[in-house]
Point group: C2
Chain length 483, copies 2
């Protein structure tokens, strides 16, 4: 091994340090079990298949694609192959997008910021959503929201060491893309806790504590807010959002608003969703005209769940034009995001109108997915709450429940004696006995001494019912085993 | 402006420093002119359209997509829409790939390293290409080759300052992705010059000079080789490749082999192409079993030119398994490359076989593109060589000519008095008078005091003939103006 140029000690240590729990060791174990299920070994396993509730991967667990979106993308790839079977509104969108692609081909590079008509369609969508005019020049496309998020974090990273590191306020629990990117960029994570007792709400005192404790350890740059929450499934109230904006303004922090679940709203009357931009604009001069905000959106979630297409975008609000120019320059070396992926998120933002031929089917498919999700959200939190030793906030948004498990002391000791986090052991046993793959709370962060797991609400209704039954039984057995 | 959190001074200075000439100021000027051409202003311009010879963007300049590749990708996106029009071998590939996607949907995330059957198809292609067995576990997919290249450079970057920076040997002239990535990663560029007088060949003495001069200024990590060459259009001889391998072995450098133009070989008898892996394996024990190599491939070039699909892959050879595991872990936070893009490069590696229904059309389309390119390669270098004050190596590979212009002293002074690089001024005047967009040699690097530009050979044959005529006239006028 000493003959090798590269070894674990001399490569980029930020990469060695980074972790991404959503695809971490539990998921690798699930893959091993899936392999075993295919062979003779599989017969001795106490389940027939693995249910992947670890990742917001909608189609993987049986959700069907939305016909309209797929027709547009297929036609962009090979119009002559599918033309005969395409409704007029689909063809219209295909021709419009192709006309904006160099050489009328999705095989050409687009501008690094994205195909112009797609950026314009997104701007029109945001204008309508917020009732505030949106300039397409402030939008750039990306390969999923993840790429845009990493890029913006990188733009703000100073490259310093110690107290010279860029500091990013990240909610805990958080989506581990943030902690992974902060590690990879050698930045500083300023963690603030969400309040589980108030439906994962925000407290000003907690933001201030987190800021004050970390402000001499780094150069604070931005505050990340995930709304609807991942892994927590809550929706921020307007008051909480205003509080964040005032806090960010006072502390001179950019707001990074991860809004990829903005279509996943399950109790719109009781828990409506607002974009950060709309709330910011409501606050008027002194905020609306100065507070820097970057919001992120994706085709991977919502009702479409087209993760594999890697379509995403970011909107820049109040960013210094010179900074924006540097960001856009940095995009050029990446050439461009996948054009088909761009078309996917662009078409999500330009859906069929009521007078168009695809409207009826589109709405039927969309509403079916969203009402199923709302039912599964209810089923999941209600079932979990019915179990002794588990408490779960209602899932009012996004695609996950993040229940708290009050583990018996004996379980905690058993885990520690095996060098595992207690919630990791819980999830591992759930996987090994029931074939259900969920992610331990330790991968997202939690108040020390509390234990959680994240479970997606994505499997089809019937399967989700079975999953809940299995978890019920597993939990009962687990608690008995360690009582 | 002082009210802003982010300004040019406090953002990531590596991003401020990075440049990517292929989409730099000349190209921005071309975009302005394109805008003007659409308005009344356009009538006063001395040309009717802009010919973009600045970027290897095949379809943008009229190259047609390969039917088979597009059929497979369209069918993956919406099988029911196109099924009726698809040949059996296309359907076979669609079903095979879908069966390897979670939930049989390209809308699911794939494994972070890529869809398993696609990795296997690529491995089979490499096995056949090199006559050496290839393990699919050593292949990972990426969003174009660029993403894989940046990731591997990042993996090797130490994050140190001064002499602690990672050093990467980069050929000059080079494709500016390398210099841009080195800047962004705050690494150290160890430049070695290609020898223009021997058809952009390699000299051991030059590799040693470059290494020795820089070895105390950084921690040398890897040597980048671009073969076929970009922007230089040459093909490395096997002897040169063996020399690089011996040099890398002695100096303990990883070899990064950019082989994205491996299908663009225009004089296969005189200038055949070999993969670095095949040459390395030929060299036997002491090399084949130890020398670390990463090679890169893309669907964006070759005969297919599907840039917008962002399909690429890397093969890892002799990499320490622990290092490979860290690299793959890092991929997980990116979730996965675009699945349709993966399918594109996967299908390139699994083309129709002689007994399959799509074979004939596929070969016809492929051979047409390649023979056109070979003709345009010849036309370009011959025309350029016929001009007094220009010399151009033959284009035996890739998609570019990189002619040297011997600029008159008066032109050099005129450029300098305007604060421009002389070759930049040459390219700007070519754009302003003829509407032809090429990239100045200074964007790729060149021996100080020499001047070049990079021109693609991609526009259709007839247009390429006009381009050559226009350049001839422009060059004549330019030389007169500054004589």
């Amino acid at each position: 091994m000493q003959d090798k140029c590269l070894n674990e000690e001399n490569i980029n240590q930020n990469i060695v340090r980074m972790q991404y729990a959503v695809r971490g060791p539990i998921v690798q174990r699930a893959a091993e079990l899936e392999q075993q299920l295919q062979g003779p070994e599989g017969q001795s396993l106490p389940f027939k298949s693995i249910v992947r509730c670890n990742i917001g991967d909608c189609h993987a667990t049986g959700q069907m694609p939305i016909t309209f979106l797929r027709q547009v993308c297929a036609g962009l790839v090979s119009k002559e192959t599918c033309e005969a079977n395409l409704p007029a509104d689909v063809k219209l969108r295909i021709d419009r997008i192709l006309a904006s692609c160099p050489g009328c081909s999705v095989g050409s590079y687009s501008a690094s910021t994205g195909v112009e008509v797609i950026r314009r369609d997104i701007a029109a969508f945001l204008t309508e959503r917020d009732g505030i005019s949106c300039d397409f020049n402030n939008i750039f496309l990306s390969s999923g929201a993840s790429e845009a998020i990493k890029l913006v974090l990188s733009l703000m990273s100073t490259g310093g060491e110690g107290a010279g590191k860029a500091g990013f306020m990240v909610p805990i629990p958080q989506y581990p893309l943030y902690s992974a990117s902060v590690a990879e960029l050698n930045a500083f994570q300023m963690s603030y806790y969400l309040d589980e007792s108030t439906h994962w709400g925000l407290q000003l005192s907690e933001l201030e504590r987190a800021y004050d404790e970390a402000k001499t350890l780094c150069i604070p740059k931005a505050i990340v807010v995930i709304n609807p929450g991942n892994p927590t499934g809550q929706i921020l109230s307007k008051d909480d959002m205003k509080m964040v904006i005032k806090f960010a303004r006072k502390r001179k922090l950019v707001i990074l608003s991860d809004e990829v679940y903005q279509f996943n709203i399950y109790q719109p009357d009781k828990h409506p969703w607002s974009s950060f931009k709309s709330v910011l604009m409501e606050m008027g001069p002194g905020y609306a005209d100065v507070q820097e905000l970057v919001s992120f959106m994706s085709a991977s979630k919502g009702y479409m769940g087209e993760c594999g297409f890697r379509g995403g975008f970011a909107e820049l609000v109040n960013i210094d034009p010179k900074v924006q120019a540097q960001l856009y320059k940095c995009l050029t070396a990446k050439l461009c995001p996948t054009v088909v992926g761009q078309a996917m998120i662009g078409t999500v933002c330009n859906p069929p109108k009521p007078n168009e031929p695809s409207y009826e089917l589109f709405m039927k498919e969309k509403n079916q997915v969203l009402s199923d999700l709302a039912n599964k959200a209810k089923l999941t939190s209600e079932t979990l709450n019915s179990l002794p030793g588990i408490s779960c906030n209602p899932v009012t948004g996004a695609m996950y429940a993040f229940p708290r498990i009050n583990l018996p002391e004996k379980a905690i000791q058993a885990a520690k004696s095996q060098g595992m986090e207690p919630d990791f052991m819980y999830c591992l046993e759930l996987l090994n006995t029931k074939g259900i793959c969920v992610v331990p709370g330790s991968g997202f962060g939690q108040i020390p001494g509390t234990y959680h797991f994240r479970i997606t609400i994505l499997p089809p209704v019937e399967l989700m019912q079975t999953v809940m039954k299995d978890i019920k039984q597993f939990h009962h057995d687990f608690m008995q085993k360690y009582s």
